[in-house]
């Protein structure tokens, strides 16, 4: 059997997941059990993608993209969870198609770039479809992630003035449109809170404050596992999902935060290295696109926890609780792993 696993990638991912599981366990046993199941599913997906190889997925990217677009579209008719229609309720679990669409969009764009059967502008327009649906859900955070993917996509193209202009106009109108027709009052409140923190008294300001207190009070070495107050006494909101990193910072202090940041940076820069040494353009662009949204998640989440960015639902991938984002991330890094292990052309074409 060929060695199709890159240990550096797999080990860093597993370390992050174990850490995440650990913190989810301190919050609730039920969430821990669920997350553990998704972790194993994720590992399976990772192995499966690595085994099958990224080229197969690239080949079927159009159909995969199409399937997930339909799934995403169907969410608009689903039952909203906390004001957002982002989930499909399938049997015993809820699927969030937008999470999966992130790597799937990357696959689609990379493959279209290779085929060159479509004009660049058309690839771009096709790629904005999920963005529009997500605006309608509405899921402000995920929309931002898609904008990040599209920006990096544009960034890596030969400079095209019309493309840039159309993107700016599109962004502007979607912002104005969403402010007046789509964003719910609580979402507007979040943006206002972020822009004018002094005038805010809302729950979001409370979240942000509690998160800052949790992080800051961790100091250098953290409070350990039995003496945390912000986490254990539940002042910290969403401490197993979006704010899991605040709990980590409280328990493990600056040293613990730094170690986690370094692991993420390693994962990202190691992947950049794989991209830069990849033999084909589409492989390289695929990794860069995946990294665009992955890095965005990490940076935004860590920044949001310390009030650098407004609060919105962007999970810390591999750490935060949530099945769809976890499995989709395993899928994405399965692709990167596959590229890294097949760069010497020893796979069938």
């Amino acid at each position: 059997m060929k060695n199709y696993l890159n240990p550096a990638i797999l080990i860093s991912i597993i370390i992050l997941n174990i850490s995440g599981l650990f913190f989810i366990r301190t919050f609730s046993l039920n969430s821990f059990k669920n997350q553990l199941i998704f972790f194993f599913i994720g590992i399976f997906i990772f192995l499966f993608v690595s085994k099958v190889g990224h080229s197969t997925f690239l080949r079927f990217s159009q159909i995969i993209y199409f399937i997930f677009l339909i799934l995403l579209f169907l969410t608009l008719f689903s039952k909203p969870i906390s004001n957002t229609k982002a989930w499909l309720h399938i049997g015993f679990f809820n699927l969030q198609p937008s999470e999966w669409l992130k790597p799937v969009l990357c696959l689609f764009v990379a493959e279209e770039m290779r085929r060159k059967s479509l004009k660049l502008i058309n690839i771009f327009l096709l790629s904005t479809i999920p963005l529009i649906i997500i605006f309608l859900q509405p899921d402000f955070g995920t929309a931002l992630v898609f904008i990040a993917i599209l920006s990096v996509f544009l960034f890596f193209q030969r400079f095209s003035f019309s493309l840039l202009i159309s993107f700016i106009i599109f962004a502007f109108f979607s912002a104005v449109f969403s402010w007046f027709f789509i964003l719910k009052p609580y979402q507007k409140q979040r943006i206002i809170n972020f822009l004018f923190p002094k005038y805010s008294q809302s729950p979001t300001a409370y979240q942000s404050k509690q998160s800052l207190i949790a992080v800051g009070s961790g100091k250098l070495f953290g409070k350990g596992f039995s003496k945390t107050t912000q986490s254990q006494l539940r002042f910290l909101p969403a401490q197993h999902t979006d704010f899991i990193f605040a709990g980590i910072a409280e328990r493990l202090g600056f040293l613990g935060s730094l170690i986690h940041i370094i692991i993420y940076m390693f994962l990202i820069f190691y992947s950049i290295h794989i991209a830069n040494t990849a033999p084909n353009y589409e492989e390289k662009i695929l990794i860069y696109l995946i990294l665009s949204y992955f890095s965005f998640h990490i940076i935004y989440n860590m920044g949001m926890v310390v009030a650098l960015f407004p609060i919105t639902g962007i999970p810390l991938l591999f750490l935060s609780y949530g099945g769809s984002s976890l499995t989709a991330s395993f899928f994405a890094f399965g692709l990167i792993n596959s590229i890294s292990q097949r760069r010497f052309g020893d796979y069938e074409i």
Partner: protein, 568 residues
């Protein structure tokens, strides 16, 4: 490869910013956020200590604790303070002022210590507040101990009262907290430490829904001690009866141990401490009442001593050795000084007068002459030997010292030189000279006790303190005998109060200084200070009745009754 490098470079830059931000928060501002985290989950409960009760000499309870209920609030939990406070005011509009007043002090306490918003919840308010608590679980009702003064109509001034700390109190003593109760006046203030004990403080760990997770004792409490006073409730009652509607003061203390048995300031009304809005309104009226019922006349009311002051001149004359007791003056009922005529109270004149007779009959003309002979400096010197310019150091906080004029004062404060005509008035205790009734009692205690300037005490625990005044025994005896003759001899000014109990004392009639003096005649203050039994004095008693006329007519009979009552 340029774009790939840009991509990596941007990522490194952003991650550096993030790391810096975490460094800043966790290392540089760590302590600050740690404190915030503590505030988040720590609440304090203060169980006020039992405050010692006050007892009268006869074991009547003068101040005791009663269970009461307050509405308190932990600020930290409150999400919308404006709305909360508006809702509370709408619920209890009568409490508006009280609530807003306390709300102003809300930031004085650390947020884990609750603030008191309503004190003494009335029974009819209770159901409303219970309803309110369902809407605002941040508020809670706390059992507290409130003070009750069953005899405040007799003893308000001596006992004083306790009240919640004011902004001013907290500024002066940062150890105090909002909502804490402290003695404001009287014994309640001067024995604050002794009575108060120590509050028991519990630290409570709560979760984000304010559910208690654990608690531990932060500070052990200590029960305050009961305090026995020397005050006699019966004597106090007697004084009130004798004064009736008249304004004034009476004080009586034991010459052997300094124990103050009577400390009475009239008018003496039932006064509620200004705590509830209702009591505050009443208090405001009392404050504006022209009869000044809140004023403690015994140790804070300063009056010209009138003829009471004459004995100081007599002492000065004898002790300086420049004026013999036998020196005789002829009194025609008036005294001419320059172009002014000073009258003797007895317009017919006292005839030939020596020092003894001058005291017994209170001859003004004799003292005009003596005063001029002594001069201001000697008068001032001897008044200060009796410490008129100092406090008696009774165990009260707000006692006032008296005032004696001097040449220096005249030039510095009045900007005019002292002139001799003023010395004439000063000789009979008129003009710019002021004393408290308590001080007068203390001064006459010197003659009654053989030279001791006794510091009176309201509480039993205060030890006897006195100073020996350096006066020869001859002088002391001379004055004492003269004072006895004031009552015992038919020509004495207080002969009318002669009774089976031998009393020595001195009458006084102090003219009232008033701007409107010329337009309207204001009756003089009536003074009497005396001691009994005369041979071996046990008690000294000073009485002043404001605007009542001659000392012999009004104050002296009251003093006699009080001394008799006490000696029985």
């Amino acid at each position: 490869m340029k774009k790939e490098q840009t991509f990596s470079f941007l990522l490194v830059l952003i991650f550096s910013i993030i790391i810096l931000k975490y460094y800043n928060l966790q290392i540089r501002q760590g302590k600050f956020y740690d404190e915030l985290a503590t505030k988040n989950h720590i609440r304090q409960i203060i169980n006020p200590a039992y405050r010692g009760a006050l007892w009268s000499e006869e074991n009547f309870i003068l101040a005791k604790n009663e269970v009461d209920y307050d509405l308190i609030l932990y600020l930290e939990e409150l999400k919308d303070p404006e709305k909360f406070i508006n809702d509370l005011i709408n619920l209890l509009p009568l409490r508006k002022e009280e609530i807003l007043g306390r709300w102003k002090q809300k930031n004085l306490n650390p947020s884990y210590i609750p603030i008191t918003l309503i004190s003494s919840i009335e029974p009819e308010e209770l159901p409303l507040i219970e309803q309110f608590k369902i809407k605002y679980p941040e508020a809670s009702i706390k059992k507290t101990l409130k003070r009750d003064y069953p005899f405040s109509d007799l003893l308000f001034h001596a006992v004083g009262y306790i009240s919640e700390t004011s902004l001013q109190d907290i500024k002066e003593n940062p150890n105090l907290k909002q909502g804490e109760w402290i003695g404001k006046t009287g014994i309640e203030k001067s024995y604050e430490e002794y009575l108060k004990g120590k509050d028991e403080i519990w630290q409570i760990v709560v979760d984000s829904r304010e559910k208690e997770v654990s608690r531990y004792l932060l500070k052990k409490g200590k029960t305050g001690k009961d305090l026995k006073t020397n005050l006699s409730l019966n004597l106090q009652r007697k004084a009130k009866e004798l004064f009736g509607e008249q304004k004034g003061a009476a004080v009586l203390f034991n010459l052997k141990n300094g124990a103050v048995h009577l400390y009475f300031s009239s008018p003496s009304k039932k006064i509620m401490p200004p705590i509830s809005s209702k009591a505050k309104a009443i208090w405001k009226n009392l404050f504006l009442d022209p009869s000044l019922p809140l004023l403690d006349r015994v140790s804070q009311g300063t009056y010209p001593p009138g003829s009471i002051f004459k004995v100081i001149l007599a002492v000065a004359a004898l002790e300086e050795g420049i004026w013999s007791a036998d020196k005789k003056i002829i009194c025609h009922g008036h005294f001419k000084f320059g172009d002014r005529i000073f009258r003797c109270w007895n317009q017919k004149g006292h005839g030939v007068v020596d020092l003894h007779k001058a005291i017994v009959e209170s001859c003004d003309v004799y003292f005009y002459n003596l005063g001029l002979f002594l001069g201001l400096n000697r008068i001032e010197k001897w008044a200060n030997i009796f410490e008129i310019d100092k406090k008696t150091n009774i165990d009260l906080f707000f006692e006032k010292a008296g005032f004696v004029p001097s040449e220096e004062w005249s030039l510095k404060e009045r900007k005019i030189p002292w002139f001799a005509g003023e010395t004439v008035s000063l000789s009979i205790g008129q003009g710019p000279i002021l004393v408290t009734p308590l001080k007068i009692a203390q001064i006459y205690g010197v003659f009654a006790s053989g030279g001791k300037l006794i510091s009176p005490s309201l509480a039993k625990i205060k030890n006897l303190e006195y100073k020996n005044i350096k006066i020869s025994e001859n002088t002391l005896n001379f004055i004492k005998n003269a004072l006895i003759d004031v009552v015992e001899k038919p020509n004495g000014t207080a002969y009318r109060i002669k009774s089976e109990i031998k009393i020595g004392g001195k009458t006084g009639t102090a003219q009232v200084m008033s701007e409107e003096k010329r337009k309207k005649y204001i009756k003089e203050h009536s003074w009497f200070v005396g001691f009994a039994p005369a041979e071996n004095p046990e008690y000294v008693c000073a009485v002043i009745v404001e605007n009542a006329g001659h000392g012999s007519e009004v104050a002296a009979p009251i003093a006699k009754e009080l001394l008799t009552f006490q000696l029985k």
